[in-house]
Amino acid sequence: MRIKLKLIIMFSIVIIAAVVSTSYISFKSLESAIIESQLRQMGHEVEIKANLIDNLNSRASEDLLFAVKNPVFVKYFELPDTRAGNIYKDGVLQFTAQQRILKNELDQWIYDFQNKFSVDETCLVDRTGQEQTRLVMKTIAPFSSLSHKEAATPFFKPSFQKNINEVYSQYPYVSPDTKRWVFAYTTPIVLNDGSKPAFYHFEMPLKSFQDMTKVDQGRAYVIDPRGYLIADSGHVYNQSLNSAPFGQSPKDFFPSISTISTSSEFNKDIRNILASSNSTNPGHVTYSAGGELHYIVYKRLPMFGWVLAYEKPYSLMMSDNYNLHDLAVTLFVISLGVIAGGLIAVYVLSNRITRPIIEFARKCRNQDVSDLQRINPSGKDKEINQVIDAFNEMIERVNATEKQKDEFASMVTHELKSPLTPIMGWCQTLKNPKLIGQLNNKQLNAVDVIQRNAKRLLQLVGDILDVQKLDLNRMKFDSQPIDVDDLLNYMYNNLQNVMAQKNIRQINSTKEQLTVRSDRNRIEQVLNNLILNAVDFVPSEGGEIEYGAQSKGDEVLFYVKDNGTGISPEKQKNLFHKFYQIDTSVTRKHGGSGLGLAISKGIIESLGGKIWIESELGKGASFYFTIPNDRTSTAMSEKVMDVREEAK
């Protein structure tokens, strides 16, 4: 994997993680701040509603107590007629004149009182369960409708158990008179002797209480200890119960808390709240339903163990708050910016990190193998410079080793060559009868063998030396105008002996007068290599080697063609490689080093030309090479003689 890619991935992860986590934290903190403030607001609202309900409750109690403070109640019940009990006539209560006066006074007081305070119904019930007076919706009930069965009401007994200035509150029930849900406040009438002949009672409509749960948003409800929703802003209560029996069970009329949510979490929470005795501060719980979180702020009311709850789902809590949405948008935009900026920075940074490495690799690749140079660090990155330093140290060591190798090779070649001077010299001397006498034929033959092998050895050493020079780029080339015709004629004459011996027809098919500025000796060497190569491949009978030169644009094209066995395309590929031999048995015959074509290629390319072969199996082979006019190099001193030819 590329370092750059690694860096980009690594930093991208870091940047994205940082941005996402920062955004998440900011978002979450703002969200929780909003929720907290919402909860506070809801708590505030719950407090207000609880106070309103409480006020209603206490005002009802206070007014009730205030009402019975009127002495007319005591006066009425201290009348001997009242004490004696009322007389019925046709089931209708009869009042004495004195009773009537006081009753009218009572009714007037109650009527006035009802005007000030909205209660559905008030009535005065005596110990026998007989209603003495009743006002329903500000209408005084006729005698005929006064009930005498009030002892059956749930509040009858508890009312008499209360003392003076004490109020009993009755859990909601359906009023048979108003046909709707009410709850009652009662207080006993206490005479001077402490007896309680009656109690006074008024009924508050449940609706006035239910109206108090109205909220703009969310849902407010009051739960009774059994889990019924006594009041619920999200429920429309039936307010006209025509056939409602007295003491109807709340079960038939009030929805249960499971109508708000069937979530077990919610039900458990609500049960816990109802069971808890803590009632001072509003508390809150949450439950999830419909894929979102619902928040409930609750407070216990002072009456009947009821709990007032105010609920909002998450979406509603956030709906008024554009801050959060704005923050989300802002965070998104900033995040994109930061990520984009970060990625650009990472890209630039990673480029900066990898550029010197790539640069270094490029410089390494461009190195001339025969002349390794130190690489100058291009940057200030310590680690990369350490690598370059290490590389330079290595180059120095390699160069030192290379130099030793070169020196050794040159020494070996020299050592191999120097004994050949006396060997060949003495062979020549032995064959000269004028110098040290005449040898017999057998002796001359032996000298010939020695001389031939010494020449071969010299050729081999020379080839190795050439390869070494070409490899190290140390071969020097002459640059003189060459008369190509003269060169080829010289070749022709030189080769005549060899060709005659092998019975080969050689043809110089040059038709033009050509001149080229280059190294004559080296071109001769190459032509010699190619022609002697061909000699090994032509058939023993009818062998033919054609060579020559022709102009090809600015260059001179040389060719050597034979009518030999040809060379297969696979073998052509390796032909110019060092030590490659087409047929080892043939080479033995020719005695080549296997370096001839490699040297030829090296020489031609050094002279700026190209060398190639065209051949098909069985159809002979044609070697071509081009020599351009040398325009660059300066002529070498003419006094320096190359003795390669001389040695032959």
């Binding site: 120097s418 050949l420 001077t421 006396p422 060997i423 010299g425 003689m641």
Partner: protein, 120 residues
Amino acid sequence: MKILGIDDNTDINELLDTVLNGSGHEFIFVKNGTEGLKFIREKKFDIVLLDLAMPEFSGFDVINSLLKEGLLTKQKIILFTASSVLDSEIEELIKKGVHSCIRKPVDLDFLLEKLEQLQV
């Protein structure tokens, strides 16, 4: 011609002695540079065949000494050396005043031919 050979290789010295003296030249040889320098100072030679690679006092030392003493161009110094000496080095020496260079191993006929040319 009077020819001096300076070469540490006895085989070559004896070969040249046989060939050159047998071809009508007057050839004497010494086996090291110090002696060669002494001979050059004392006598006049037409040609000096000087080997470069010799132990202790090499052909280069001989040339440097002759250059200092102004004797380098008094006779034709022909370097007689193996191919291990670079062309550039030889060019350098030729610039200093050395006559020419013949690479070892040498074709004796060529050597004689060359000497013939120099005599004219």
